[in-house]
């Protein structure tokens, strides 16, 4: 049953892909339908009526699009169901498909870990399926065709599901690459812009490199497996020498990290996510990165055998680098989706940091704390999936209404788009990890893990982990600043452009429904984290082999993972408190209706003429940070003043800011130059002169003869 649901998810997403192919076949279908009727095929009148309506040239496109997304939605639902049921029943389902190599059929396995990620993907896909129809409604089939979009969306989602199902290296790689390739097409979807093409190319190449690293990693394990079979079961009971295991670990980190977007192999992410359609970038950023995370966990915690604490340290460092780097670069962006992409880098960094913690604790012999860290990581993955989807979909709505993604073109949207603005606020509060929202809970758990450092004996780790905690704290604070900026500049203040002035709330119920769903989940999980955590318990029992130190104290009300007197958090109580105090003070102060406040002009120091150019925009907002952390970015600031005839008076001043990523200058451009240089050198071999070619063959012959004799 569980397996059936799991397969159903894959099949449904694939079928949505196939349905999308029909979008241009309206005429064919209609005639076929008419023929069938003439043939005397009788349908129930309701169905017939619906078909007649749906096949009419005017309606067909929107109807089919709705159908496609309906399929996706059902896929998402079945994924949620199967994920939940496997988590609750804490069972392991296995199967084999008749596909693949003659001696290596596709092995399928659904356990708590993959079930959990199934749940994540299912939620995201469900939301997207609500969001999609409204978003793609007015696509011009000629310009950017829905055929391509729908087709590859379906394949992409199916690929992600298959990655979770895979239980042998071959199937895993196929599913993995399917996911990558499909998303590549989605990135290059609107390929009229050169930027999109560039992003797609970068993405494809890095995906390929990552896949190669992963294959190599699997190969290393397989090299030591008993009968050289590539099933994960065989991997599970091979034990590698520490050296080889570490090699495999590094390869996996490279491969999966490249997909997850760890610094410095993150550069494809801020390029690719902004250019894809919003609901796709929501899936890529919110979910695909999690699939990479899943692969990494599966690889390191399960297939690789014993964990080494050094790996944990590596993760800690890389994670800290990514989280800080990600948020720093996010702060400097003014393209909303680019900003969100960078903040994904940050969150992934946080997740990997906490994973590193749990690795360290595991190797140091404290599995219960390792379990705590592991859960913190998974929980944060879950939360990130929720609020990052919400943010990207919100960005989609805004792009749809404001026709821009530059946050400095917006402003004042809170009045023009009331619903969206509220939902977006929820997302911002979650990602800024404020209490009562889900982001806070996972961060809280992360801190709890870090604070258990005193059980460790190793002095290096004892001093390293607090530093990591400090980095984590700084990251959180920066994230809050970053999203205050985002929300403030986009939704508050005066409109900064005519687009923003004209903007109005979307009329599409589906879009808002998707946003509300996610926002609701963010809040619910934030207030009642216990439910998710109790699900996660099974996962950590399966992977780490240990539950929370204090499962009993984890219920809907209390959250005391370690022990009640050591640390506890009762979000419902806090919520109650906030409502109480807020309500009372509100009631008390508003009781006197004579004191109803009055609206007047904004105070303008008596000069008058406040306009929207006087308020802070994101560049101005971030100025102090640019000053303080100047070396983090490759800043290129230009200020050119035109001084007027009056001395010491500036008639016109223009400010330009260019923020670049260090990794390009230090890593990627050199590589490209290297490859091209080598190519040029080797090109010299082929002079075009036939006599030289003859000489080649002559020399080769002589050489080989000399070799053999």
């Amino acid at each position: 049953m569980i397996l059936f649901l799991a397969y159903l998810a894959v099949v449904l997403s694939l079928s949505s892909a196939l349905l999308a192919l029909l979008i241009r076949q309206q005429a064919v279908l209609a005639t076929g339908f008419v023929k069938a009727r003439d043939k005397g095929v009788r349908l129930p009148p309701a169905v017939e009526k619906f078909l007649v309506d749906a096949l009419s040239p005017t309606r067909f496109q929107s109807r089919l699009q709705q159908l496609v997304f309906l399929c996706l939605g059902l896929a998402g639902l079945s994924a949620i169901l199967s994920g939940l049921s496997v988590l609750v029943s804490d069972s392991i389902v296995r199967d084999q498909l008749v596909l693949g190599l003659p001696w290596l059929p596709w092995h399928v396995r659904l356990d708590s870990l993959s079930g959990f990620f199934y749940l994540i993907i299912g939620l995201a896909v469900a939301a997207v399926s609500l969001f999609g129809p409204g978003y793609v409604k007015d696509y011009d089939e000629q310009e950017d065709s829905f055929t391509v979009l729908g087709l590859f969306t379906g394949i992409f989602i199916a690929g992600m599901f298959m990655v979770l199902l895979a239980d042998d290296a071959f199937f895993f790689m196929i599913a993995w690459e399917l996911m990558s390739v499909a998303s590549y097409f989605l990135v290059s979807f609107q390929h009229q812009e050169a930027a999109n093409r560039r992003a797609a190319f970068l993405y494809l190449i890095m995906a390929e490199v990552g896949a190669i690293a992963i294959i190599l990693g699997f190969g290393v394990i397989a090299g030591f497996s008993a009968d050289y079979s590539f099933t994960f079961d065989a991997f599970r009971d091979t034990d590698l020498s520490v050296t080889w295991a570490s090699v495999a670990f590094i390869l996996a980190l490279l491969g999966f990290g490249m997909k997850a977007g760890l610094v410095p192999i993150h550069v494809w992410l801020p390029e690719a996510h902004p250019v894809a359609p919003s609901h796709i970038s929501a899936l890529m950023s919110g979910v695909m990165l999690k699939v990479a995370l899943y692969g990494f966990i599966r690889f390191c915690f399960e297939l690789l055998g014993d964990i080494q604490w050094e790996w944990g340290v590596v993760l800690l460092v890389i994670g800290a680098l990514s989280s800080l780097g990600g948020i720093f670069y996010a702060m400097m962006q003014n393209n909303l989706k680019r900003l969100l992409a960078y903040s994904s880098v940050e969150n992934i960094g946080v997740i990997f940091m906490v994973l590193g913690l749990s690795m360290i604790f595991l190797d140091q012999g404290h599995p219960e704390i390792a379990a705590l860290g592991f859960m913190a990581a998974l929980f944060h993955a879950f939360n990130h999936a929720l609020f990052k989807n919400l943010l990207f979909l919100g960005a989609g709505v805004i792009q749809h209404q404001v026709h821009s993604l530059n946050i400095d073109d917006m402003g004042g949207l809170i009045k023009r788009m009331p619903h969206t603005s509220k939902l977006f606020l929820v997302a911002c509060m979650s990602i800024a990890s404020l209490p009562l929202f889900n982001g806070f809970v996972s961060e809280w758990l992360a801190f709890q893990t870090a604070l258990r450092v005193d059980v460790i004996d190793n002095a290096v780790l004892r001093s390293l982990i607090p530093v990591a905690a400090a980095a984590l704290a700084l990251t959180a604070a920066l994230a809050a600043a970053c999203f205050v900026n985002v929300y403030g500049v986009m939704f508050l203040g005066l409109p900064r452009s005519r687009h923003a002035e004209k903007a109005e709330e979307t009329q599409d119920k589906g879009m808002l429904a998707a946003l509300s769903l996610l926002a609701g989940l963010c809040f619910l999980v934030g207030v009642i984290p216990g439910m998710v955590i109790s699900l996660l318990n099974n996962v950590s029992i399966q992977i780490i082999g240990n539950a929370l130190p204090n499962v009993a104290a984890v219920n809907w009300f209390w959250l005391a993972p370690v022990s009640a007197e050591q640390a506890s958090y009762a979000a419902p109580l806090v919520l109650f408190g906030v409502l109480l105090v807020g309500g009372v003070s509100f009631w008390y102060l508003r009781r006197n209706s004579a004191l109803e406040f009055k609206r007047t002009e904004t105070w303008d120091c008596g000069y008058g003429g406040l306009n929207n150019r006087m308020q802070y925009n994101s560049v101005a907002f971030m100025m102090p940070f640019r000053r303080i952390f100047a070396n983090v970015w490759e800043l290129d600031e230009k200020i050119d003043k035109k001084s007027s005839d009056v001395p010491q008076q500036v008639s016109e001043i223009r400010y330009q800011l260019q923020v670049d990523d260090h990794s390009w200058r230090w890593i990627y451009n050199p590589i490209e130059r290297l490859v091209y240089g080598i190519a040029r050198i080797i090109g010299r071999l082929q002079t075009g002169n036939i006599r030289i070619y003859l000489a080649y063959s002559f020399v080769t012959l002589i050489f080989l003869l000399w070799v053999v004799s």
Partner: protein
């Protein structure tokens, strides 16, 4: 029983906060040879503000109006989890010290947003600066607090303070670091000289005031009151974490009485210190603040490390 007591204690916080502000003001005036207003002046101000009709800009949105209430209740929740005169505090379990920092974060988040809501240059400036300062201050504070929580191996304030109390008079280098970090952070977060000047409304230097420039009437009252509570919160944190002696462990009236006296004494002393520093020091330039705060951050980290390496090593 103890729930009621927790409620009373929170009320005590709310009530005493303006008094503390007045006390500081009084001492500053004294130190600057000015005639001091009465200690109750802050109460009068609040009362006056609540009876004025608030004025709100046309461009302001619901967020602007909701913010004061949110900030106020966030502060009160924060107050409710900090042991004031007794460590046997049930509410302390509902939210540990990390959540406490979270409450401050909420208040700051909304204040900054409200600052940007109206769309003046001041609001944005204030928000930007406030976020900058707090971005640097928050991790420092966490570091300082983690030093305590690691020593007590608990992030629950009540049990942590209890632990320090049981330890008795022990000199811990880590605590010294943490204490100084905490003081620096407190100065920055409560917007005191040398980081910010609560009395000024000079456009270019103000941070906190710039955000709330547009507020008036009861809204302003709530915000002022909230910041008063914040000041007191930091005071209580410093005094009760690092000098917990005298705090009651149960509800014996005598113990509570002495605890209250002790607390008032500690706060009074702290306030005097604050007044002295504010008189002695000049406000520093905005871009010197990060040196100030990264120093605090460093201290906190040092405290943490010295605890890990020197004290807790086995």
């Amino acid at each position: 029983m103890n729930w009621i007591f927790a409620f009373i204690q929170t009320l005590l916080f709310i009530v005493l906060a303006p008094l503390l502000v007045g006390w500081v003001k009084w001492w500053k005036c004294r130190l600057q040879n000015r005639k001091a207003p009465s200690l109750l002046q802050p109460y009068r101000d609040l009362l006056k503000l609540t009876h004025k009709q608030p004025v709100v800009s046309h461009t302001a949105s619901w967020l602007f109006i909701a913010t004061p209430y949110i900030v106020f209740s966030a502060m009160i929740l924060a107050a409710s989890v900090v042991p004031l005169i007794s460590i046997d505090l049930p509410t302390a379990a509902s939210a540990d010290v990390i959540v406490l920092v979270g409450f401050f974060a909420i208040a700051r988040f909304f204040q900054a947003l409200a600052g940007m809501d109206v769309g003046t240059a001041f609001g944005g400036m204030g928000a930007s600066r406030e976020m900058t300062v707090s971005t640097l201050a928050e991790p420092a504070m966490l570091m300082a607090i983690f030093t305590l929580t690691m020593a007590a191996s608990s992030t629950n304030l009540a049990s942590a303070i209890g632990y320090v109390l049981d330890q008795g008079m022990v000199l811990r280098p880590s605590f010294v670091f943490a204490l100084f970090a905490m003081i620096l952070v407190a100065i920055a977060e409560t917007g005191r000289i040398p980081v910010d000047n609560p009395a000024t409304h000079l456009e270019l230097t103000m941070i906190h005031e710039a955000m709330i420039l547009e507020y008036s009437g009861r809204h302003l009252a709530l915000i002022e009151w909230a910041s008063a509570i914040k000041l007191m919160l930091y005071g209580v944190l410093i005094s009760n974490i690092f000098f917990p002696w005298g705090i009651a462990v149960d509800f014996a009236p005598s113990a509570l009485g002495t605890a209250l006296l002790w607390l008032l004494l500690k706060l009074a002393v702290l306030a005097v210190f604050l007044a002295i520093t504010e008189t002695a020091l000049a406000k520093m330039r905005l871009f010197r603040v990060q040196e100030f705060l990264s120093f605090a951050y460093l201290l906190g980290l040092l405290g943490l490390l010295s605890h890990i390496i020197l004290e807790a090593s086995r």
